[in-house]
């Protein structure tokens, strides 16, 4: 592996780890707060999948950097300006409709992204993707079912779900943008060229929203910046909470 490719791969693993870590954190906030007990279980389950993914990606970053940094150093010892997750992941959990719509957008994204990553020339990334695909299949079944039910349920659930779609839409554009790092990896057969997935994502999302009697928003606004560490105000608070115990007792084993 050349140094350039190696550095890019480390950066890539960190980005994907950050996505999983931050989203897993958000989902875990639902535990004991779901609309009924089965949903608490489902939320815990999905959160667990994402924390597991974060550990695998960070673990790989740690292996490649080989400078003594562990998975926890990546999760707990970086500030929001150093985090590289997509903005969509860090937005607050809000209500049930909001969280399920976000999940749908993300689940469809991963259901397209992961089968591509499985083909990566990088064996570790391919293996992580292979494991994650199965999880995402289950996640997608759930978020899809919920968006259908909520969109085509009561007047209130429809209103809340449409509001969620409208407020989240602007954060979906950056999911499909490549910077130089990811372009390099895509060209080398290591990373995924996500620009190629956008149309299919849009098609699948539109089909579900339409079936759920929801409107597909215009592409009028787009917020971006997660991949360069330019975050919303939410991430700082999230990390404050996540990192508090770990940082209060520096250098400890847990």
């Amino acid at each position: 592996m050349s140094d350039t490719i190696k550095d890019a791969t480390i950066e890539y693993a960190i980005r994907l780890g950050d996505d999983a870590n931050v989203l897993g954190h958000r989902i875990s906030e639902w535990v004991s707060r779901g609309p009924f007990l089965e949903e608490d279980i489902a939320y815990a389950n999905v959160a667990l999948d994402y924390i597991g993914r974060a550990r695998m990606f960070y673990g790989y970053a740690s292996e490649l950097t080989n400078d003594g940094r562990t998975e926890d150093d990546f999760a707990y010892m970086r500030d929001d300006r150093q985090y590289r997750n997509l903005l969509l992941m860090e937005l607050p959990k809000e209500d049930f409709a909001y969280s399920q719509v976000r999940q749908l957008f993300i689940d469809i994204y991963y259901s397209l992204f992961l089968p591509e990553l499985v083909k990566s020339k990088d064996d570790t990334l391919a293996a992580i993707a292979a494991k994650a695909i199965k999880e995402t299949r289950y996640h997608l079944r759930r978020s899809r079912d919920w968006v259908l039910r909520l969109g085509d349920g009561t007047e209130e659930s429809h209103r809340r779900t449409q509001r969620a779609v409208d407020s989240l839409w602007g954060y979906t554009h950056e999911m499909f943008e490549l910077d130089d790092t990811e372009q390099l990896l895509a060209d080398s057969g290591i990373g995924v060229d996500i620009t190629q997935l956008r149309d299919e994502w849009h098609r699948q999302v539109s089909a579900i929203l339409t079936e759920a009697t929801l409107n597909i928003p215009e592409d009028g606004w787009a917020v971006r910046g997660g991949r360069i560490g330019y975050h919303t105000e939410n991430l700082g608070h999230l990390l404050t909470e996540m990192q508090f115990v770990h940082r209060s007792y520096p250098g400890c084993q847990w």
Binding site: N21, H25, S28, E29, V31, S32, R33, G34, P35, F36, L37, E38, E39, D40, I41, A44, N45, A47, L48, I51, G52, A54, R55, Y58, E71, D72, A75, Y76, D95, F96, L148, R149, L150, D152, G153, T154, E156, S157, R160, E241, M242, F244, V245, H246, Y249, G251, C252, Q253, W254
Partner: protein, 318 residues
């Protein structure tokens, strides 16, 4: 045969089964008080699993390592599963989950008072898993032989997961106790705060226990509060020693003759005080549950409405 004679015959057969250690199944005849007693106990147990998610949930977003966070998530997920499983067991006795939840939220049904104590530090995640799940296991192992079939089978399944929780909790304590002096102090503090309340989980002394006698006769309960508590005290003493922490009970002393530890008296005033509502979290735990339930109302309504629409459509096609 008069209906009275019939009942007493059924009662005799019921007691014969109980005495022969046969399980009572949902469709079997059972005395009304047996049914009520079981509903009270199983639903209280289910509520405890569910309310117990809160103190640990309180540290999910602050777990100090990703590995610990994953373990904690999976523990809480298990507890929710236990709640679900126990609600189903109670439902076989002719009560609905909605009715049980209503009873919890209105304060008529209880949950384990231990969850009215606040979870303040990461050490508490260790102490809760080790001591609270640990005390629960001692009780639940004996309930694997309870006379009601669905409850007994539930306990067998649940106990396996609980012992995993206890080991994980103890492992947190062990890591802290062998860590820096600050971590060790954190472990000691958690042990000090949770040891006595864990002993209280077994309930009042046998002489004071309101439900005990009949429950023993019906074999709903298989061992007395004091016997179970003694087991827990005995097993915990060596575990505390292994951690190298100070035992919170200064009067604890091995009694060669009894083959058990003698221990100091529990502060029953505190016990009754917390049960009466004066714990740090009594109100908070219920309000949290009610808030989640109320905020989920529109979701549950949407689900009903969606299913109704779907059915109507299917009927149209047919």
């Amino acid at each position: 045969m008069s209906s009275e004679e019939q009942t007493s015959l059924q009662e005799q057969q019921f007691m014969q089964k109980i005495n022969a250690e046969e399980k009572i199944e949902p469709k079997d005849w059972m005395p009304e008080k047996y049914r009520k007693n079981l509903i009270r106990q199983i639903s209280q147990h289910a509520h405890s699993e569910v309310i117990g998610m809160q103190p640990e949930g309180n540290f999910l977003t602050r777990a100090p390592s990703l590995r610990r966070k994953a373990i904690l998530l999976s523990k809480i997920q298990d507890e929710a599963g236990h709640g679900l499983y126990l609600y189903s067991a109670a439902e076989t006795l002719g009560i609905s989950r909605d009715e049980m939840i209503e009873a919890l939220q209105s304060g008529r049904a209880k949950y384990a008072s231990i969850f009215n104590y606040p979870a303040l530090t990461w050490g508490d995640m260790g102490a809760i898993g080790w001591l609270v799940d640990g005390a629960a296991i001692v009780n639940q192992v004996s309930l694997q032989r309870t006379s009601y079939g669905p409850y007994a089978r539930g306990m067998i399944r649940i106990c396996k997961e609980e012992s995993f929780h206890q080991r994980q909790g103890y492992d947190i304590m062990l890591t802290l106790a062998n860590g820096t002096s600050e971590q060790k102090a954190m472990a000691q503090d958690s042990l000090n705060r949770f040891y006595w309340p864990a002993l209280m989980m077994f309930g009042p002394h046998d002489s004071e226990s309101a439900h005990s006698a009949k429950s023993m006769e019906w074999k709903i309960k298989r061992e007395t509060n004091d016997d179970l508590r003694q087991k827990f005290i005995d097993q915990t003493a060596s575990q505390i020693e292994f951690l190298g922490l100070e035992h919170p009970d200064k009067e604890l002393k091995w009694n060669e003759e009894r083959g058990h530890y003698d221990s100091g008296e529990i502060d029953w005033e505190e016990f009754h005080n917390v049960i009466a509502g004066n714990g740090h979290c009594n109100r908070q735990r219920l309000e949290h549950h009610i808030k989640a339930h109320e905020e989920g109302a529109w979701v549950r309504e949407a689900l009903v409405a969606y299913n109704a629409k779907k059915q109507a459509k299917q009927a149209e096609v047919a």
